[in-house]
């Protein structure tokens, strides 16, 4: 389980545009670097990020090796109702990590 830092405002007014910030620990190995033995280090990146809000997808991203290590992604959404945001990262090995954050909307 890679470490993550997620910033979802704990409360928001209905209709307010909120910013969600996410950071996950990952080397994002491009596949273009050579190791000390001269061989190419194989690519190993997080290539997909998805955010759902009470089950409905509100944002997703396809990532390529040009994304920096420890991918940082921020995006906006309208606070519609209280509930849970689920953030998922999928890497080249096919593994998905999901973190959740709650929000209360007045």
């Amino acid at each position: 389980m890679a470490r993550t830092l997620i910033n979802v405002p704990p409360t928001a007014k209905r209709g307010e545009v909120i910013e969600i910030k996410t950071l996950i620990s990952h080397p994002m190995e491009t596949g273009f670097r050579t190791g000390p033995d001269g061989a190419l280090i194989p690519r190993d990146i997080i290539h997909r990020f998805v955010c759902t809000y009470n089950g409905e997808e509100i944002f997703s991203a396809d990532l390529f090796p040009a994304i920096t290590a420890n991918p940082f992604i921020t995006f906006t959404t309208v606070a519609t109702e209280s509930g849970e945001l689920a953030l998922s990262w999928t890497d080249d090995k096919g593994q998905t990590q999901t973190e959740t954050a709650k929000i209360t909307v007045e």
């Binding site: 910013e19 991203a61 090796p65 040009a66 920096t68 921020t74």
Partner: protein, 149 residues
Amino acid sequence: MILATRRDILRTGAALGTLLLVRPVMAKPADMEAAIRAFTGTAPINSGKVELVLPALVENGNSVPLTVNVAHWMEPNDYMKTIAIFNEKNPQPNVAIFHLTPRAGRATVSTRIRLGDSQKLTAIAQLSDGSFWSDEAEVIVTLPACAES
């Protein structure tokens, strides 16, 4: 302050111990054009509605902050659904593709990217009606001083 030309500065920086990694064959502007065409097909690309923000001179090419602002309030039937970022000179022309929904409000997406050289970046955004909109940014990337050896 007598530093003659930018090339002199770059040479100075290079010789002061920065490791020049053996780079793979770098993409050319033509590759970026091809990747953009693959994304848009033959449709015309308009200017506007999307703003690509990058620093003009980066602190370090390994971590460049990038922001895309959509100047278009998202409505259920009229929203910016995809934003694709392309670059000219990295080994691959793609950087990221963001998929938005009407729930984004006034959409702003940020991330941090790697840039191997000074180059142009292009953001191509597709509206829900199928039209394409774009913005560009030019970035200068220099070698860092005192890198790993």
